[in-house]
């Protein structure tokens, strides 16, 4: 495994680098107690360092450092939320010196350094819309990637996890999403290096439907290594990222070591998860009774009773399980005066709540920095390497109705057993409805027989050198490399009804991606009395390269090989391979001006060139300007004596881009397409056809954003908050639209259309309790975004939201329409189910049990405004998927050794299309020996009625979720010297979901076409998880 090859030498190098200068000099001991200056209460966990020795204070605030070199030394004490203390102590050889320290709380938020892209700024000086997440507060419960740490904690960021699958990807939208067809994913920047967040693994094969959705590429980073996450939201903040900034930027800073002795941390938990809710399918007894009732009512022939099986199986229970997760982190950090380092290892193994799938990660990380040349040169190294194994479930997120685990979980006959005895061998084998290929498949067998595995090895590293050229002017070079190797292996065995028609089908795909980044920066700072100026100017060059290869074989004699020996197949399907390269070149600058800590101005300019765009549009300019006025610093405010400890207003405007275009999209491309092969005689001639129409005018989507905000702090920041308003206008929207025919390909990517987002965000933090031995804080975030399609290049609408399932080919549920938001549901309006047949002149207009819809046509099928056969003329807007507003409520409390935190999220308003209920509320399934949802038992819909998309299946999305509650208890480890502490905790995820939605979860994502939103179809059930863990610090 390449992970080990990379990681081990790296760790070794780190250790060598970090090795302190040791000398057999005389030493002494320093001890003492650290307390809060105001309350005189002990402060636990404060970092104390002196002369290369270091540790942290225990729960009673005490510390002891032995082996401290004798002489006059500097003692440094730091603690989150308190001002740093340095003080000189004289250590006598063989003696114990006592140094007690009082620390004062500081107006943390304003002095805190916040990453803003190519640099940091003091919170108080920021003029754009920037939010931060403190990682230690957000890393609770089972968190597999950084996105989970943002969810519910930042105003204006909506994160919808695709499903309850381990490692599942997510839909992330910062301020509503600016694009229809290009990516709405923010740009992720890890330790200053922008990363490419496209999937690292090749796509899979769907069985009778769409393939499982890709999992989150962000899982490469262990959440426990994250120090802080900063989200840049408005143009003033993101313009420095130019063409990549339109969807917002997520800056992730990882943890560093601190000067002092070696600190070791172990953090581990085990978790137990079960599906939080059930769809409720009929079990065998319910199904048998239903058939008996229908036979008695004359709706089914009596011989149907004989066709029922002998068992009583609840297939939903049969495919789900109690799943276990274990996670272990080991980290050590430390540093001498000029070198600090931190190294960590992580192992995580998460089982899914559905049988036979999961997520496993082994990850190592190292960072170190060192100063030289009298602190004028700083060298820094960051290295992460992870190996992830994704064991996919053969589910079907979208598309057809045959095959997948969840489809069969619903429809497979519950009177049949999971396993039966094979009559020839006497062994227990999975029950199937027949031999060989079948479209109905035992779902438990599917989970066990179908192999679909992905794995990614990804190494992310950067090295930077920062040189102080002259006082106030720094030059930085930062070189980053991101390399991933992803593989996907699939095998559909002969024994499975899926693989039988191919006599076994094996596929192997491999993808690798390399991104190289070079940044050079000049950073200047100058004070002119009350004025200060900060400037940064830079150049960035990024090269992306990706290639993929795949091959497939069919016709195996044995299932023994899985996908590991394609040569075992008798028929090889033509392999494929491709390679993409692209480059991005940027020049950028930012200037910040501050007058007397009252008036702030920021200007940003970035010029980007991308190879991916059309010949005449490769370069673009992205400017932004913003200003802030810190009213609370004005003398008149101080005279007024208002309780404002901070009051600021700010506003900004700028342009951002979205480059979501694949390489070569502007060129005409010829390729040997599978669909262009033709047999002359009976020999296949490989056909070369144009696979893409040229568009030399192709360019980026451009978003112009205005933002205005107020930041305030009251009563010494006991209460602080932000209120924000923004408008984003996106133009030159990238849309794949039909082109005038004749054309080689019927659609082409064009810059057409306009989209508008406007919204309000608010966040409020309150210190509700501050006592000697107890404290409590509450945080509230609120956001409301209004999204509107303004123009589609003259088009009236674009259909999207493909409906999945049996009898739903060509059915769509959404339209993208000017004047309406994205995610607008459009279709027939359901009225009721006919209680009686309607016969006019011998013609049956509708049957008893038929669904009736509102119509206003004049033809014979529309009677009194009702019809059983709705047409396009009867369709109307049925609501949209966007919430009116979202809320996140967090709380942290401490009492003595106990700590408690919680996160509640709520989204109010909006609709969700329950595609699952549409397709599986059909009692007529009984005619084909198939099962359906319990909810259908009591509705009056007839046995022969097809599933028709309408307002009947559009449900309210409003929900409130108790996302996490964590209770911890901290104590000093007995029998050890000071500074060895432990915390044990118990944490619960997704403990409570309040919603009227009838499916698994209203907050899920089904990939149903262009910019589709709010559709749920057979999603992986979301788990409810309880975990217990321990943190140890030595």
């Amino acid at each position: 495994m390449s992970l080990g090859r990379i990681l081990f030498p790296a760790l070794l190098a780190g250790l060598v680098w970090a090795a302190p200068a040791s000398a057999q000099a005389p030493t002494g001991t320093v001890t003492g107690r650290v307390v809060d200056a105001a309350t005189q209460q002990p402060l636990a966990g404060a970092a104390v360092a002196v002369a290369g020795r270091g540790g942290t204070t225990s729960t009673d605030g005490r510390y002891t450092l032995s082996g401290v070199a004798a002489g006059s030394q500097t003692l440094r004490v730091t603690h989150v939320g308190y001002g740093e203390i340095t003080q000189t102590v004289t250590v006598a050889a063989g003696q114990t010196t006592t140094v007690n320290v009082q620390m004062a709380q500081q107006a943390l938020q304003l002095q805190e350094l916040v990453a803003v892209g190519y640099g940091t700024q003091k919170r108080g000086a920021i003029t754009g819309a920037v939010s931060t997440v403190k990682a230690d507060e957000a890393d609770v419960g089972v968190v597999s990637d950084a996105n989970h740490m943002i969810q519910g904690r930042v105003a204006g960021v909506q994160i919808v996890t695709n499903s309850g699958e381990p490692g599942a990807g997510a839909q992330i939208r910062i301020r509503g999403g600016t694009s229809i067809s290009a990516s709405n994913e923010p740009l992720y920047v890890i330790d200053g290096v922008p990363i490419d967040n496209t999937p690292t693994e090749p796509g899979g094969m769907g069985i009778g439907g769409g393939a499982p959705l890709p999992r989150s590429p962000l899982a490469l980073l262990n959440p426990a290594d994250i120090q802080s996450i900063t989200i840049l939201k408005d143009a003033a903040a993101t313009a420095i990222y130019g063409s990549r900034g339109a969807n917002g930027v997520v800056l992730i800073q990882t943890k560093r070591g601190a000067t002092g002795g070696i600190t070791m941390e172990y953090d581990g938990y085990v978790a137990m998860a079960t599906p939080a809710r059930r769809l409720d399918v009929l079990d065998g007894a319910q199904y048998r009774k239903f058939v008996q009732d229908q036979v008695a009512a004359g709706n089914l022939d009596s011989d149907r009773l004989a066709s029922l099986g002998p068992a009583n199986t609840n297939w939903e229970k049969a495919v789900t399980r109690t799943a276990y997760t274990q996670n272990h982190n080991l980290a050590f950090s430390g540093g001498t005066g000029s070198t600090v380092y931190r190294a960590s290892l992580n192992y995580m193994n998460q089982q899914g709540v559905v049988l036979n799938n999961g997520f496993e990660r082994i990850q190592g990380r190292l960072n170190a920095s060192s100063t030289a040349l009298s602190d004028r040169l700083t060298l820094e190294l960051n290295l992460t390497s992870s190996h992830i194994t994704n064991d996919y479930l053969p589910d079907q997120n979208t598309g057809g109705f045959e095959g997948g685990v969840f489809n069969n979980m619903v429809v497979f006959n519950p009177t049949e057993p999971v396993k039966v005895q094979d009559s020839t061998t006497g062994q227990m084998v999975f029950y199937e409805v027949g031999a060989g290929s079948q479209s109905l498949r035992n779902p438990v067998a599917l989970t066990e027989q179908i192999v679909d595995q992905g794995n990614t090895t990804r190494t992310l590293g950067n090295a930077s050198a920062e040189l102080l050229l002259v006082p106030g002017l720094t030059a930085t070079v930062n070189v980053g490399a991101d390399r991933s190797d992803g593989g996907r292996g699939t095998y559909w065995p002969r024994i499975s009804p899926v693989g039988a028609q191919y006599s076994g089908l094996a596929q192997q795909n491999a993808r690798n991606s390399t991104t190289l980044t070079l940044q050079t920066l000049l950073t200047g700072h100058r004070d002119f009395g009350v004025q200060t100026i900060d400037v940064v100017g830079g150049y960035e060059f990024t090269r992306f390269s990706q290639q993929e290869f795949g091959s497939q074989a069919q016709g195996f004699t044995t299932d023994a090989f899985d996908y590991y020996n394609l040569g075992g197949g008798s028929q090889l399907v033509a392999p494929y391979s491709w390679r993409n390269d692209s480059r991005l070149v940027s020049f950028f600058g930012r200037a910040n001006y501050n007058y007397g800590n009252r008036y702030y101005l920021t200007g940003v300019l970035r010029r980007d060139g991308s190879s991916r765009f059309g010949a005449g549009n490769k370069w673009a300019l992205f400017p932004a300007a913003s200003a802030a006025w810190r009213i609370s610093e004005e003398p008149f405010m101080k005279r007024l004596g208002l309780p404002f400890s901070d009051l600021r207003i700010r506003a900004g405007y700028g342009l951002q881009g979205n480059p979501g275009v694949p390489p070569y999209a502007s060129l005409i491309i010829l390729a040997p397409e599978a669909g262009a092969r033709y047999p002359f005689g009976d020999q296949i001639t490989v056909g070369y056809i144009p696979t893409q129409d040229p568009n030399p005018n192709l360019k980026w989507e451009q978003t112009a954003q205005f933002d205005a905000g107020i930041d305030f702090g009251l009563l010494d920041n006991m209460l602080s908050g932000t209120l924000e308003y923004y408008v984003k206008n996106t133009s030159d929207l990238l849309l794949s639209v039909a082109v005038p025919q004749p054309a080689l390909v019927d659609t082409r990517l064009e810059n057409i259309g306009k989209l508008r987002n406007a919204g309000i965000e608010a966040s409020l933090d309150a210190l509700v309790l501050e006592r000697a031995n107890a404290s409590a804080t509450l945080g509230l975030v609120f956001s409301a975004d209004r999204n509107k399609v303004v123009d589609l290049g003259g088009r009236g609408f674009i259909t999207t939201g493909n409906v999945s399932g049996q009898g739903q080919s060509g059915q769509v549920s959404e339209r993208i329409m000017p004047g309406q938001p994205l995610g607008t549901f459009y279709g027939a309006r359901f009225s009721h189910v006919a209680a009686e047949a309607n016969v006019v002149g011998g013609d049956t207009i509708w049957h008893k049990g038929q669904q009736l819809f509102v119509c206003n046509r004049t033809d014979a099928s529309c009677v009194n405004g009702l019809t059983g056969a709705p047409t396009a003329d009867d369709y109307a807007i049925l609501g949209n998927a966007n919430p009116d507003f979202t809320l996140g409520l967090t709380g942290q409390g401490k009492m003595g050794a106990f700590d408690l935190s919680f996160l509640i999220r709520s989204e109010v308003g909006g609709k969700v299309f329950n595609n699952t209920a549409l397709v599986y509320s059909t009692k007529g399934n009984v005619l084909q020996n198939k099962n359906f949802l319990v909810a259908a038992l009591n509705d009056p819909t007839g046995l022969h009625e097809p599933a028709i998309f309408s307002s009947r299946w559009i449900e309210d999305r409003t929900f409130t979720r108790l996302q996490n509650v964590t209770l911890g208890y901290s104590f000093d480890l007995p029998g050890r010297a000071s500074a060895s502490r432990a915390r044990i905790y118990v944490s619960g995820d997704n403990l409570l979901l309040l919603t009227n939605y009838t499916g698994y979860d209203p907050e899920v994502f089904t990939d149903a076409g262009l910019a589709s939103r709010g559709i749920e179809y057979l999603n992986y059930p979301r788990p409810r998880t309880i975990s217990t863990g321990i943190n140890l610090t030595f």
Partner: protein
Amino acid sequence: MNIHRLMSAVWTPRLAALLVAVPVVGLLQSCTDLSENPTSAITPDNFYRNADEVLGGLAGVYAQLRSTTDDYYNLSEISTDEMIVPTRGQDWYDNGTWLEIHHQTWTPTSASGLGAINGAWVNLFQGVARANALLAALPHANMGDADKKVVTAEARTLRAFYYYLLMDMFGGVPIVTDTDIKPRPRNTRAEVFDFIETELKAAREDLPETWSAENNGRMTQGAVDAILASMYLNAQVWTGTVTESGLQPGQARWQDAIDAVDRILNSGVYSLAANFNDNFTPDNSNSPEIIMQVKFMAATGLGLNFVMRALHYSQFDPSPWNGFATLAQTYYAFDTSDKRMDIFLEGPQDNVLTGQPVNDRSGKPLFFDPTIKDPTQATEGEGVRIYKWPADPNHVAENNGNDYAFFRLAEMYLIKAEALNELGKTAEAVDLVNKVRARDFSPPQPLNAADYTQATFRDRILEERLFELTAEAKRRQDLIRHGEYTAPFGFKDQREPYRILMPIPQTQIDANPMLEQNPGYGG
């Protein structure tokens, strides 16, 4: 090892400056070059240079023929009395698209308007575009002039054929022979007719009469004559004008139709197959009757999938779709002693591969009942199924190797017969029809010329075309030519006369606002 001493020995300001400067200078050099050079794809500038590459381009033009058996085929069949796709419980509702096609209630924005009708437009025009791309590149190709002439003629014939299908479905469409993508107005249907005729005649000069077996399926003089014969047969429709109140016919071209058929008959290349079935079996490329076909192969993505559309779930492996069926009235129109009736599956059913009896999904023996009681609530077994192209024992999943003939000699006889009858030569016409019928009855049941007038034989030929050509995508053309397309049949009511043209799909008008909608379908 002491890192500090090491560092301070190594690090000098000069070295640091060098470290910063070297990558900067190195990368600045390439910094403004943003041109793209794809490595796993090619651009037309560096392709179609030699005979092999040209053949690769030509294969792509032919390959688009496969798509004609999807949307174009479905519209031509399901909008007539030959086929219906009833809603079968949870299956085949599909946004109402299938019954909408059968009931002829489509609109530019309805399910089929945005679905199958748009699909037919796109697929056929893509064929045109592929031909244009190849034709634009051919002058620069480095290959023998003789070969280049043939390839040019093939590409022009294929382009003309795609236009023939577009004209049939939509009327007048933009005539385009360059590769620019831009909005263009529609030509009239008569102009398209003239363009196709001119192109085919020109291409015919350079096409061979026959190809060797390893080139079976490429365009020939016979294929050109067959397309022309069909054009002349329908000339009154296709050179006429369609208004909201129906067709104002154009000039008849009966003698041209006869001449085109005679060129085929006199070529000596074609003869009727001994058995009707020989034209449809997996080895039908050997049939001497087939004049122009879409080639299929039992290989992934290259096979015919008609068995999937019609057969019941349990009759084939992989499990078919149990959809397409035939109206009882059409099934019963056949003479029970006509061997051509064997294309239907009716009554108790077997697996077509194993011959074993099969059950329906509820566990009862599968039985195909000709009567569909209610097409909105049909059962699994309702409706007889068309099984004209029997399953290929060597099939790869749903891919069967049976070729699909667009034109075969039997139809040429029927075209000539129809033209002769229109010219008053009914007795000659009856003779020709009898030549086709000869293989289908034992004992033979020839038609008697004395039983027919010109008018009654006109109806008889329409019927005979049904028996001979069911499921060969001819019925829509035939019903329109005979003025019966919009008339009531089966579950379908009388429809407006303008529905003999499909609407231009809204998607296409959005993309090309210069396209004017067909009459009757709104602005």
